[in-house]
Each structure stands twice: as structure tokens, then as C-alpha cells.
Symmetry: C2
Subunit: 488 residues, 2 copies
């Protein structure tokens, strides 16, 4: 349980980040807000670098990039252990992890933020569907490698599994921190904080999980000037408050509206482009009027280009947006507004922003109708592997395990065959699973398969460029053929 | 897991409450927002009464009053079972429960809202400190009486208990509903909802726990006219939306600022008043600059009159307010702004409003420094009984079990001896416990006791009108006497 110690009775406002972090000791656990480089407490992180505080355990969704955000503290080797869902943007960190010089506990994004929410809310443990049927549940995932080997020195523990209403759940324990480092937009002098757009992300739940919460903001306004119905973080959760004058706010992926974009984009040109187009066009047919949709990074995003213009749907982004719009015009690019792929975006009228905790509650609670995700391998029972290639690519699962554990329908979009003609639709996946028995539908450039309630795999559609015979040749999994086959 | 069924693709706006509830079937489970009579979906409840839907299971913090809110459906016997934390305001309901004609599952207020939050968030179960060391954990509490007897026909089950970091927790399962009935303030045409002041209370978590969520509001504004950073309930959670023209909004306890109030109030006159004053004055000395405080209903509230005017403290009210102020002037009374005692109140500059879920996360997570509560009996190990007299008074525990399970310091304020000179400070409590081994300090009109870390009871202060001898005479519990005794 997070018990706040050391109240600050006169004023919570401190004069500098150096002043704010000076009491943090070597070996402390810090929880850090932000998603990618958005909403990062960048000045507090710099102050920790300057103070040279060592042996830190850091709870943060991402590890920054080399030279910015937590990447700074990783480069200077001030961090002993990271708790993250996705570290793929930081090569320097990946190296340190693979050569055994740093510990990494990979935690699904929604579980990570729920652990923080629970820590701040006095809940020591909770059951969740996220991570079931994966190494998160089974354990044995390397937290630290034996230097110079691919053997685990420390491995993750298996989780307790329990059935509720016929579904499987695993028990996860909460996380708290000695200090929370938070980036707000505005605060009042009493310490009430509001966030801006998708820069809220992890900050709100991080703030509540710390024994001492330090908040940096762009502006401090007089107490009473923020609408009491619009305060995101009430001052009871804030112990130190600093106004900072300088923000870099780098954008990881600057995407702007492109007049040559949409259905005619270059991304749909050439043989690979045509395959992508076929997959995206077919996937768009699954999208019905009124649906709430989460589109994964990569091919899934492309489906948006082919949605029937007569229908209205709403896109959710797991970093805290409902109502994603197009990419912005150059002049409207806003580093406080990115999607889960860290791209600059806009929102539509009627959009809303919320915390990562609320966002994954939305996903896990079955409120999102459909999620489209990419895949690396699919088994004939609908097991999905799409997050890791051991020894080669260890970026983290991000929100993928939460999405497949929570959305009402999981549709995988991928090329049928990998480079070098190696098969991807297999009897059994050889890669570690994202989740077992979870795929509702698989859409490739050759075929569409659905799984029935008994996890029987059924071919339902054949691409116009393919045939049942060709599909059998490039599919190791055994499947049945529907009585009436569609075409696309 | 709450899975939304039956999306409403064209518009979520329906023309009347009758229209909105017509699909609800006999035997449905409905979760209903509101706290006391504040923020009640009063028009939807009326429509259910008119529709004559029967055998309902109702999840609602309170049971309304006879003739208003859920009291309507209870009077017409449309309700089969209630899930509530406090039903004390409805005599008709209490009668039905005691004579065995209705089922009641009493659930601590914070646990109730967390069960709804979890239900909406895809969390099937969680561990909580609330209810440990009480019949909530131990089971055996009557859910339904055998008609005409005081024997339980159905009794509550014991809960699984587990230790985390040396502290005890119990496992609670989540709640979902077929329908959520919610009262918002404003919505936009897309279905985004904002609440007003303390009328948010249970509404936000109730909304998310329903398969179909029906929201009534006072105003519908064009989509895009609510700040996306200030939306309390994003439209993904809303399936039907109705604008209602008429609201009664009755106030349960109209309290107004009284010029003769404060330290010189009539409540402190006479022999009983003097005792109250002595207790309240002494309790106020425990309040330090910067503290966050929750004051229970009754004698604890009186402590606020005696706080050193040189210090600044913040009062939390568990229905969703941080920064309670004085009672309002007559013209400022607002039925959307009440405290946990259902009294009309005001707030101070820098106050904030939030959901009941967030409020109890704040309490349970150890963010409230101190809670002052009334007591019926205290044992020598600091067990507290303050919520029920079996067979006589079954109102519910409200938030008391959450407050004692979560606040950093639990101070009990009560008269030392009950009417008829029966003792209240005992070796063992004879009444059912609110929690065992939990009281930090007991302040009575005769004495102050503290409990040390080994749960040894120590007399620390003797009231100027009393003596150690008199205290021993009126105290069954065995206690030690501090080396230096204070006086008050």
C-alpha cells in the first residue's frame, strides 16, 4: 500500500527540479509518467541524471530513446532494473539487457498501468485476463541474462491462474514506488493538476502509486482557477510541484496529412503494396456502423483507408484517446497528441482523452468491439504469436496481450507467407504466444479463416488471386472449407 | 466481464425514459447511480416503476427513501434483491428485509464501487483491506431472513484471506449488471457525459459496469462542444441517452450556515453538549497543518469547529469531494453538492470532485492522513464496533470499513459510557466488529487512549473533569497508564 510520508505543510511548490529530486537516494524505486516521448517529466529526469542517483528501479511504460527521457539514465547506467511494456525504441537499452548488464521485467501495458492504479488504490493484487496463455502467465521469461549468454540468470515466476465464469484469469500484484515523477500541463498553487490531450497517458496512475509524487508543469495558476469538475489529479496526490520553463517535447514519428495518401497511397504500390491493399480492403468489410475499433500498428492501420464512407465508427488508441482522426496538417502537429504508434494525429469532434488506466479498463472490460492486429504466426486453434522472436527481437508486448484479452473480436491481418516462403499459418506456433486460442478471424493476402466456438479453423474466403489448392500448399494448419466460399 | 451487446448505430438519443427502459425484462440486474438522493436517475426509476418490471436485482449504494428513488421500486415490491452499503434512510425497506420478504447484500461502500469499477474494467476479482476482521470477511451475515424469525435463510459466504507485505486482505469478486441507470448533467449528441459536483458519485463506475448503459441528463449539447479533456464518461460506455425536463432533486439534510454556529452552537450546550465539546476540542488537537482528513458523521464532524485557525487542512468526503467547506447560505444550497452525511455543503477554493471509485481509491490507498469516526464499542486490543446492533439497527456499514482499512490513522470519538451507564470500552466487543485491531486512538469525554504497535492500550490523557480512578471504574478493558499523563 502506498502510504504518503513527509507531507509538505507550507507550500508544495519547490523552486527547481534539482531541489525536488535531491532527497531521492541510490536504490530508490521511481515510477515515471509518459508514453513514448509524450508527456515525459523531462526536466525531472535531467535533474536525476545531474544528481547522479544510482541503482534505480524504474517503472515506466517505455525506456525513452537513446539520449532522451529515461534513455538518459540508461546511457549513464543509473538504472538497475526497468519495469516496462515496450522498450523497442531504445537500442542502447536493448543491448544492455541482452548482454546481461540490466534487469528488465516486461509487463503488458494494461497490466502495468493497472498494477500502478492498484498500488495507488490500496489493492495489493487482482485477477486479469491479460497474459493468459503466454509466458507472462507461464513464467520463465528472462529478467536478466547471464552475461555473454542467452541463458536467464533471473527468470519471471509463473502466475496463479483461476477460472471465473468459464474464462481464465491470472493474478497480478500491484506496484508502488518511492517517488513518482509526473508531467502535468497546468497546476494550481494547491497542487491540483490537469493534463493535456494524450500527454495524460501513464502520468495520472503513476502519480497515485508513489509515496512522494513530484510533478513538473508548464504553468502554475492561482488556486481556485481550475474548474473543480475538471481536475485530473487532486492535490492530495501531489507532494512537490515545479513550474519548468523549457520543454523539448520531441516527436518520435512525425506523420502529416498527405494529399497523395488514402487509398491511392504509395504504400499500396508494387507487389507487397498490392498484398497490403487486398488485406486492408477485406478487413475494412468487417467494420460495421457504430463500432468501436482499435487498430494495431502496421498493416492494421491501413484498414482505415477502406471503410465505407457512409458509416460512422470510432477509433480508440490505447494511450488514452477515443475518437482518433486523420494525420494532422504540418501546422497542426502537436507533440501532446500522438497515437499508440507514437505518430502525430488529430481527433474528431466528440473525442475524449483519458488516462492509460481508464483506457485499458475500456479495452479489458470488453467495451471495444473489435481489434485488428498484425501477426507473426497463427496456429490451427487460433493461437497468436506476434510479439517476440527470442534472441532476435525483444521489444516488448506493449498493449497486444491486453487487446487480445479484452476486445470482443480479435482479427489478425498479415501476409500469408513470410519472406523466403516460410509458413506462418501452422499446426502449432514455434514462437512464444501472445495468447492461445484467441483469434476470431485471420485475414491474409490469400485467404480468410474464422474459428468457431470449438476452435475449429474454417476457410471462409479465398482471394481472387488465389485458390483453395494454393492456400493448402502454403498453410500447415489443418482447416475445413466453408460450404459457401466468399471471394475478395 | 461486461460485454456490451446491442450497439445503437444511428443515434444513442431516445425520446423518453419509457422508451429507454422498455426492453428491460423481469429478473434483470440493474446498477443504479447516485449517493443518497444526490445524482439519482430519478426519471428512469419512475419509468421502471411505470413499466412494472419485477424481480429486479438492484446494485445501488443506497435504497432511496420511502417514495423516492429506489424507494419507489421497493414500495411496489419490484425488487427481489438489493446490493447496498447503507439502507438506513428507508424504513420501509428495512422492514421488508427484517421480515424476510427481500434479500439484502450489505457491501462496504468502497468495496461496492470497486466491484463495479472492476466489473467494467474486466477484472473479475481483487484483494482489498476493507472488511478484514469483520463479518464481511467471516461470512454468516443474513442476506435473507426466514420470515417471522431472526434466523438467516440465506447467509453471506466467508471470503478468502491472504497476507501481502504483512497485512491482511480479502478477495472480492466484481459486479456487472444487465443495465446501468445513470444520471449525468450534460451530454453531447455522441453520448459523452459530464457530471456536476458531488452528483458524480457512483454514476461513473455504475455506467461502465452495465452491458447496456442508459443515461438521463439535464441538457444535450452539440457534439464537439465539451472539452475532450473534461469528459467524465466517454461515449463508448453509453448506449442510450435521454434528456429529461423535470428533476425533483430532493435534499435529505438541508443544512445552512448558522450565525449562532461554530464553537458556540447549541449543540455544545447542556451536559451532553459539554461532553461533545470536550471530545471535539481534544480531537482537534490531533489535526496538524497540511493534513488530509475524513470526518465521520455525528460527533466527529464537530471537531472541525475547534481546529487551530492558523493551520490549513483539507477535508475529504467519501462521496467524491476533496476540499469541503462550511455549510452554505440558504441561497447557495445546491442539491448536487452534499457531503457523506447527505448534508448540503460548500467547497473551498482548490476543491475537486471525482467519482466514488476514485474517492475510495484515495482512502484505501493510504492518501488520507487521518479519519475520525464514532464508536459503539472498543476492545482493549483496539477492535472497533460501530455499525450494527443485530436485530435492532441494520442500516449498513457505509464507508466505515473502508475508512478504517485505509486511512493512516483511525481516531474514534465517542462518549465513554452509554445510556444507563453500560460500558463501551470493553475487554472484548460484544457487537459485530467494523474491524479488529485497528483503532489508533480513542477520545472520550473522560480519557484518551492510544494503542502501541503491539496493540497494548495506554491511557495518555485524563479529562479535567475525570480521574484515573473514575476511568478505571467505567472501563472494562485493561490498559496501562502513560508515564506522563496529559490533561484536557
Amino acid at each position: 500500500m502506498a502510504v504518503k510520508q513527509g507531507r509538505f505543510f507550507s507550500s508544495k511548490i519547490v523552486s527547481s527540479c534539482d531541489e525536488a529530486v535531491k532527497e531521492i537516494k541510490d536504490g530508490a524505486t521511481i515510477a515515471v509518467g509518459g508514453f513514448g516521448l509524450c508527456g515525459l517529466p523531462e526536466n525531472l529526469i535531467k535533474a536525476i541524471e545531474h544528481a547522479g542517483i544510482k541503482d534505480l528501479s524504474c517503472i515506466s511504460n517505455n525506456a525513452g530513446i537513446d539520449g532522451f527521457g529515461l534513455g538518459k539514465l540508461l546511457r549513464t547506467k543509473q538504472v538497475k532494473k526497468m519495469f516496462s511494456s515496450y522498450v523497442g525504441e531504445n537500442k542502447n537499452f536493448e543491448e544492455q539487457y541482452l548482454n546481461g548488464s540490466i534487469e528488465l521485467e516486461l509487463i503488458p501495458q494494461g497490466t502495468l498501468v493497472e498494477k500502478l492504479r492498484a498500488g495507488g488504490a490500496g489493492i495489493p493484487a487482482f485477477f486479469t485476463p491479460t497474459g493468459v496463455g503466454s509466458d507472462v502467465a507461464n513464467g520463465g521469461f528472462p529478467i536478466k541474462f547471464k552475461p555473454g549468454t542467452s541463458e536467464a540468470l533471473i527468470a519471471s515466476e509463473p502466475k496463479e491462474e483461476r477460472i471465473y465464469n468459464g474464462k481464465r484469469y491470472i493474478l497480478e500484484e500491484s506496484l508502488t514506488a518511492d517517488y513518482s515523477l509526473v508531467k502535468g500541463w497546468k497546476a494550481d498553487e494547491a497542487g491540483n493538476v490537469i493534463f493535456r490531450k494524450s500527454a495524460q497517458n501513464f502520468n495520472n496512475d503513476v502519480a497515485r502509486a508513489g509515496k512522494i509524487c513530484i510533478v513538473e508543469v508548464e504553468e502554475i495558476v492561482p488556486t481556485g482557477s481550475i474548474d473543480p469538475d475538471c481536475i485530473h489529479l487532486p492535490h492530495i496526490f501531489v507532494q512537490k510541484l515545479i513550474k519548468c520553463d523549457h520543454y523539448e517535447k520531441p516527436l518520435e514519428v512525425r506523420t502529416v496529412a498527405n494529399e497523395g495518401g488514402g487509398r491511392n497511397s504509395d504504400i499500396f504500390k508494387g507487389p507487397a503494396g498490392e498484398k497490403r491493399k487486398r488485406i486492408a480492403e477485406r478487413a475494412a468489410k468487417n467494420i460495421k456502423d457504430g463500432m468501436y475499433i482499435n487498430l494495431g500498428i502496421g498493416i492494421p492501420t491501413l484498414a482505415a483507408n477502406f471503410i465505407d464512407p457512409k458509416i460512422t465508427v470510432t477509433f480508440q488508441s490505447e494511450n488514452g484517446i477515443l475518437g482518433l482522426g486523420e494525420f494532422p496538417k504540418e501546422e497542426d502537429v502537436d507533440p501532446d497528441l500522438i497515437n499508440a504508434g507514437k505518430q502525430s494525429v488529430t481527433v474528431v469532434p466528440g473525442a475524449s482523452y483519458f488516462s492509460s488506466g481508464d483506457s485499458f479498463a475500456m479495452i479489458r472490460g470488453g467495451h471495444v468491439d473489435i481489434t485488428f492486429l498484425g501477426g507473426m504466426q497463427i496456429s490451427q486453434e487460433g493461437d497468436l504469436a506476434n510479439w517476440i522472436i527470442p534472441g532476435k527481437m525483444i521489444k516488448g508486448m506493449g498493449g497486444a496481450m491486453d487487446l487480445v484479452g479484452g476486445a470482443r473480436e480479435v482479427v489478425i491481418m498479415m501476409e500469408h507467407v513470410a519472406k523466403g516462403n516460410s509458413l506462418k499459418v501452422l499446426k502449432q506456433c514455434t514462437l512464444p504466444l501472445t495468447r492461445d486460442r484467441v483469434v476470431s478471424e485471420l485475414i491474409t493476402d490469400m485467404a480468410v479463416f474464422r474459428w468457431d466456438e470449438n476452435r475449429k479453423m474454417i476457410l471462409t474466403d479465398v482471394a481472387s488471386v488465389s485458390s483453395v489448392e494454393e492456400i493448402r500448399r502454403f498453410t500447415e494448419a489443418e482447416f475445413e472449407v466453408a460450404d459457401e466460399l466468399g471471394s475478395y
